[in-house]
Symmetry: C2
Subunit: 157 residues, 2 copies
């Protein structure tokens, strides 16, 4: 009982904890995206993600969105409904497979996509510009490695 757990304090130094830093970065990036989207288009981040995927042609159906993004099906379903109600998105069930929800942007939806995209791309460039060229070259690779490592569930052998 004499040894205080504080001995391991340096290891617990929060600023050096990977997860903590990622959470903080995620928060900061989120807040930035939310602010930009609210200012330039009056939409939420979840709404933008769907508009961007459909607008760019990256996704055509709810299924595509679920597969190519990390948006949960429930969120897709509800956000899509909101976008439809707001007149930014129109949907249909193709006769080839009537389970599928096919989406296209309305004119208004496309207008929003096209005015918002440059802002979001400029933001992306600004973020990458904050890094040194060598850092830019490796950052996505690092993320990949960390994600793989995060899939492990055992560390004490």
């Amino acid at each position: 009982m004499s040894a205080k757990a504080n001995d391991s304090n340096h290891e617990l130094e929060l600023t050096q904890f990977l997860t903590y830093r990622v959470v903080k970065l995620h928060h900061a990036l989120n807040a930035q995206a939310v602010a930009v989207l609210d200012r330039v288009a009056g939409i939420t981040l979840a709404q933008w993600r769907i508009i961007a995927l459909i607008g760019s042609g990256t996704a055509k159906t709810a299924r595509d969105i679920a597969q190519k993004s990390i948006i949960a099906p429930a969120v897709i379903s509800r956000t899509t409904r909101t976008l439809e109600d707001a007149g930014l998105l129109s949907t249909r069930r193709p006769s080839s497979d009537r389970r599928v929800l096919e989406m296209t942007l309305t004119d208004e939806g496309r207008r929003i996509y096209e005015t918002t995209l440059p802002h979001m791309q400029a933001r992306q460039r600004a973020l990458l510009k904050a890094l040194a060229p060598e850092e830019r070259d490796v950052i996505f690779e690092m993320f990949e490695k960390l994600e793989t490592a995060a899939a492990r569930r055992e560390f004490m052998e």
Copy 2:
């Protein structure tokens, strides 16, 4: 109207979007931490964060926790109550300033802290080990730069 927005498709390639990758990494890290904590201690991530901050001596009060972490005051308040009800944490209002909520781990709380910490430290080491030494050297610096850049709100000049 002839030019499809797909022209900018390569720029929109999701896997190259910083925010998207950070979100995905955050999710993966979260899921890992949740799984480990559930298995070794039966506690949630929010609970662990508070136990760790108090157990390590990094924080002594709710205020400390709010300042040194990114946990919102409301979450601190409610999680603290839960931990108290579970008998892992005890609180008191110091006579020097009776607004402040001072916390200490109970014996049971400390036991959980001490059995959980090695697992979380091993996890942290395993994560860092997934990176090359040069990468480890720069990753926190990169996070710092990106966070600073994420504080900006204007990009189109």
